[in-house]
Structures are given as structure tokens and as C-alpha cells.
């Protein structure tokens, strides 16, 4: 394998991997903070792309601004969904409610949300598939290695978002409360902190990440009503590989799956996807908690 091919495959892997990472960080924050396995996450990702389409393509705003707006809109949508659905639901749970019951009902509620968002988007935006003209269509051609500038920007932006998220979670009081809630909400309540707004912000933050992922990828891919249904399975898979509740694990998992898919398609063809699934199951058999997460009951 030539060095050129290697670099090309690496860039492909990093692009797709960084989208998975953003998706899964959002899923993970929601899952740990609010105990919701969010099936509507793919639809939030899709909405992020549509909102970006609206701001960037229809209203002709600046790309960076559109991206921030799409993250912010999704945070709003997420917060409203949480307040409208999951906050009502969680009032029913008491200390003695079994974990599996909470998990199941929250997941089912998110399936309801998913159906509404999916068909709602289809009705509002129509069935037509849309695309966003890349704001940076240039191609970098060095020693016959051709790399689209947009891909590099996507990798850079994802990295930036990851760093911001890290600073938010580990360097601010807000982040500390968020993390504390994911370990023991009761203890946080005892500290005199109102946990209900923390749950809302967890869901909003997770939704915003999904929206950003959708928005970032929109100029590279297309904006279609079905884009959310396909990415959710792969995101769940990355979540497991990385390990639930591990920030670094998620990043490692996203990169691993991206690399496997990129190099797999080159050398194995279409069967690569199946191979990745198999590999993940094998990893999980030997490391039930994922690569870097702790085994959780």
C-alpha cells in the first residue's frame, strides 16, 4: 500500500469517525445524565442538517454562524422535548422503581418522539432530497494525494467541539454538576442543587451535539429525511465499543470504527460492514464494558 493511499484512507476514516464521536458523546451525556437511551438521536442529527440547510442555503448566512445556530436550535428542541415528555415521565419514577423499568419506558418515549420528529420533518420539508453546496470546495493536491479541504475542516471542527466539551465538563462548575448527576442524582440534590434543570441541560447539550454532527456533515453528504434512521445503529455500536460513560473511550471507539470501515471497504469490499459488527461483538465478549469503560450493571 502506497503512502498516498494510506493518507487518503486515514482522512476518510477520521472524517466519518469524528461524526460518530460527536453523535456518541451526545448519546452518552443523555444516557448517563438522564437515563434515557435516546432513539430519537438520529432524528435530532437529521434536524441539525435541515436547520443548517435552512440558515446556510436558504437564508444565506455564514457557514460558521449557521452551524452555531443549528446547534443552538437543536439545544432548544432538545430542552422542549425533555420538558414536554421525559420530565413528565420521570415524575412517575420513585426510588424503588427498577432500573430496567426506567430504561424501557424512557426508551419507548424516545421512540414516540422519533416517530413524530421523523414524519414531521418529512411533512414540513417534503420528500425531496437536498444538498448543501460545500462552502470550501477546494481540493488539496500534494504529491498526487487529493484531499478535500472540507474533510479537513470537518475533522478540525469536531476536534474543536470535543475540546470545548472537555473544558465545559471538566473545568466549569456546570460540568462538575453534570458529571455528579450522572453518578448520583440523590447526592447532588442533597447538596442543595436543583437537579431538574440539570437533566434538561443534559438533554439539551446532547441534542445540540447531535445537531452539530448533522450540521457539520451536511455540506459533505446530503440532507435527506432518512439520514437519521441509518446512523443511529452505528452510533449505538460505537457507544458500546467505547464503553458507556467513558469520554476517552468514545473517542477511541469512534476512531476505531471509522478506521475499520475505511480500510475494510478498501481491502474487503462490501462485507466490511459485517466484519466490523462481528469484531465489535467479539470485543464486547472479552471486554463487556467496552474498550475503556467500566462494566456497568
Amino acid at each position: 500500500m502506497s503512502l498516498g493511499l494510506f493518507i487518503q484512507l486515514l482522512v476518510n476514516a477520521l472524517t466519518i469517525g469524528s461524526i460518530y464521536i460527536l453523535m456518541v458523546l451526545g448519546l452518552d451525556i443523555i444516557l448517563r445524565g438522564t437515563k434515557i437511551l435516546n432513539f430519537a438521536h438520529g432524528q435530532l442529527y437529521m434536524l441539525g442538517a435541515y436547520v443548517l440547510f435552512l440558515f446556510f442555503q436558504t437564508l444565506h448566512l455564514n457557514f460558521a454562524l449557521s452551524l452555531v445556530l443549528s446547534g443552538a436550535s437543536l439545544a432548544l428542541i432538545g430542552a422542549l422535548s425533555y420538558l414536554g415528555i421525559f420530565a413528565v415521565l420521570s415524575r412517575r419514577f420513585t426510588v424503588s422503581t427498577t432500573f430496567s423499568y426506567i430504561l424501557l419506558l424512557s426508551a419507548m418515549a424516545s421512540v414516540g418522539l422519533m416517530m413524530i420528529l421523523q414524519q414531521g420533518t418529512l411533512l414540513v420539508f417534503g420528500t425531496q432530497e437536498r444538498g448543501i453546496q460545500s462552502p470550501l470546495p477546494q481540493i488539496i493536491d500534494v504529491f498526487n494525494v487529493r484531499i478535500s479541504l472540507m474533510r479537513l475542516i470537518i475533522i478540525f471542527l469536531s476536534l474543536l467541539i470535543c475540546i470545548c466539551l472537555y473544558l465545559l465538563m471538566y473545568k466549569t462548575t456546570f460540568g462538575k454538576i453534570l458529571r455528579a448527576v450522572s453518578y448520583d442524582p440523590e447526592a447532588v440534590t442533597l447538596q442543595g442543587i436543583n437537579t431538574s434543570w440539570v437533566f434538561v441541560s443534559c438533554f439539551a447539550l446532547g441534542s445540540a451535539l447531535a445537531g452539530l454532527a448533522g450540521g457539520i456533515i451536511a455540506p459533505l453528504f446530503s440532507v435527506t429525511p432518512s439520514m437519521g434512521q441509518n446512523i443511529i445503529f452505528m452510533s449505538f455500536l460505537v457507544l458500546l465499543v467505547g464503553g458507556i460513560g467513558s469520554y476517552r473511550g468514545t473517542i477511541a471507539g469512534g476512531l476505531l470504527v471509522g478506521l475499520l470501515l475505511s480500510f475494510g471497504f478498501q481491502f474487503m469490499g462490501g462485507i466490511a460492514e459485517l466484519f466490523v459488527f462481528m469484531l465489535v461483538i467479539i470485543i464486547l465478549v472479552f471486554r463487556p464494558g467496552g474498550l475503556l469503560g467500566e462494566a456497568a450493571e
Binding site: 476518510n12 420528500t127 470546495p137 446530503s222 471497504f265
Partner: protein, 418 residues
Amino acid sequence: MRKIALFIVLAITMAASPLLVACNPAPTTPSTSPASTEVKTLKVGCTLPFTNSLGIDTKKALEMIVPAFNQAGGLTVKGQKYNIDVIIYDDKYTADGGRAAVERLVNEDKVNFIICQVGSAPIVAGLAVTEPANVLVFCGGASGKIISPQNKYTYGTATWRTNLAPLFPLLKKNFPNAQTMVNLSPDDETGKALAADNAKAAASIGIKVLESIFYPRDTQDFAPFATKIMSLKPDIMDYPGAVAGTQFGLQFKALYEAGYKGVHISPMQPNLVEVLAVTPKESMENLISIMPATDITNPAEMAKKYKADWVAKYGEWSSASLNWIPAFYAFVEAINKVDSVDPSVVAAYLSANGLQWESPNGKGILVKRPDLNNNRFCDTCASLDFGLFKNGKYEYLGTITAEEALKANETAFGGSWK
């Protein structure tokens, strides 16, 4: 108390739902009185996916042409006038959804004809109902199972299976130096079958297929495939079985970014609005593909009228329905030709004698498929209009008549198709 009241309402609705479904207006049984002056209604079924533009556009098309057809006098069979009533259900593009919709059409609405279905999965799932019930089906769909020898009442009126071979002589004429080819197809039944057919057709004209590459159906990131294709260095790229929307555009974009400069051929009609939304014009240079019959330099009267009616009714023109709507015209032609509304009589005639029809998409003829061991007229060859993308413009290249298409297929796959 409120909760209980709400619940009771809900429970009654739920409990009543099977009954309500059952209590649809009873099907009007055709009376046997001969040739009365009153106009009868002929129910025709259709299932479409309401979640993608293929289904929605075809639904719009049927809602446009059928009332106009009835207004113009409708069908006349043995002196009896019939108005066509098309019943359209959502098949969700899935096997289970298609089966439920077809069960409803056949058992509840008692239709004897089903037309214009789009997706292979719902069509194939419905065959287990329509075939034993002797329901005549004129459908789109690319699956070879639609024209399997065990079916007696099903006709494929889309050209997916027969438009590969006619493309290659045209390619040879315009790009005589192109020698090697790579197929890029979705990893599904259609993609696999068409890629194999395509390789056969290409070989019959002396083009070497280097490799057939399959991508998972919902792929959006084509960069890995483009990287691989570039390492194979083909002269021609072919996309059998690809979906005509943005996914097609993403393939061009990825190849363009990887530096591909050769010829593209595609045996289908790209939705240019969607394709150009994701990829720059330069990436589509040297693409030969099927052009909508409405958009060629001198379109036929029927095609012109279809487009004008569409624009008058819905505003923005969309050509997606052209591939599926010939089923309606084939159905009308078949009824007129056989002069019967009995599906068994019509099917017996068609399977033995074939059929020709004119639609906005051009002329179509039923053909046999000896290469698939089916010696009944079951598949369709149609006239094909081709366009070439040159210097940023999509221009009309030429037309291949239905008869020429038939001949090209016979050369590529063997056997007598007439």
C-alpha cells in the same frame, strides 16, 4: 375520573378499529346487465411508498392523469363505459407494508388489477396474494423475481432490466477509446443482478469489466470507494441499480474529488435537481444517461402534454414519475386490445401475444425472457432517450427505439425475445 373517561374513549376507538376497517363501503359488485348506458366504475389498485419522492410523484401523476382519462370518456369494453377509480395505499416501501396493502386491495376493495407499484420489496411480497387470486399486476420494480417463470399474472413495465444493453453501442460510438470499466452498485438484490447483467452486456461489445464494487445501501460517504476505484484506473464508470437522488450525486462528488476524469454511464434517469444540489457540475462531465422523454429536443406530443399538465397542476416540474406511469398506459391498452375486464382473459392474451403501448415515456413493448427461462411475454423493452453531460450542459444525444433496444438485448443475453 377524567383519566377513566379518556381511557374509555381510547379503548372504544381501539376496540372499534378492526370493525371500522371491516366496515368500509362494500365493493360494488358488477351487475350482469348487458351494455347499459350508465357508466360503471372499474376499481384499480396501487401501492406506493408515501415516504419518498418516487412514491409521492407517482401518486401525484395518477391523481393527474386518471381524472383526465375519465373525463375524456374512460374505458369502453364491449360497449360498456367504465370510469377508472384508482385506490392508492401506502406500502411503506417494506415487504410487510406491501403485503398488508395488497391484502386490503385484493380482499377488501376486490380490485382485479394493480398498477404502477414502485418498490421491489412490496411488489414481491404482494405476489403471494395477487397470483393465486388471479389479479393482474403491471408494476415497476427492478427485481428479477417479478418476472420469474412461476408468475402468470404479473408484468414488469419498467425498463430497469432491459436498458443496460442498448447503452453500450451508444457509448462505443461516442467514446471509441474507452476499454475498461468498473461497476459501482448498491449491495442489494437489484444492484447485484444488474451488475451481473451489465458485465455480460459490456463483454458482448468488447469492454472489460475490471471489478464490480458494492456499497451498503444507505452509504453517504463514497470517499473510500472512490479511493479504491482510482487505484483500479478504469476508463468507464457504470452505476447499475443506483438510486437516482442525492446518493448518485455523492458518488460523482467523491470520484471528482479523487481525481477521476473518465466517462460515466448510467442506465437510469438522474434527478438533476437533487444530484446538482450536492455535487459541482464539473464532476458530471462525460456522463451518458437516460434523459426524460419530456426533456429531449423534440419531445413527442404525449410527453409535451404530460409535462404541461404537470406544471399547470403542481407548479414545479419533476420527471421522477415517468418511469412508473407507463404501467397505467399499458393497462389501458391491454383492456382496450382484449376488450375484457376479466383479468384471466387479459393475462392469457398478453402472455401469449404481447402488447405495445404509447406513454409519455415513449413506446413500450412486452418481451419474453428466454435467458431467464420465461417464455411468456412478461418484461418490457421501451424506447430510450439518452443525454450527454458536456461542458457543464446536459444535452440530448439520441434516441434508441423500443425495437432497437430489443435487438440489443437479444445480442447481449441471447435467445429470441419476440
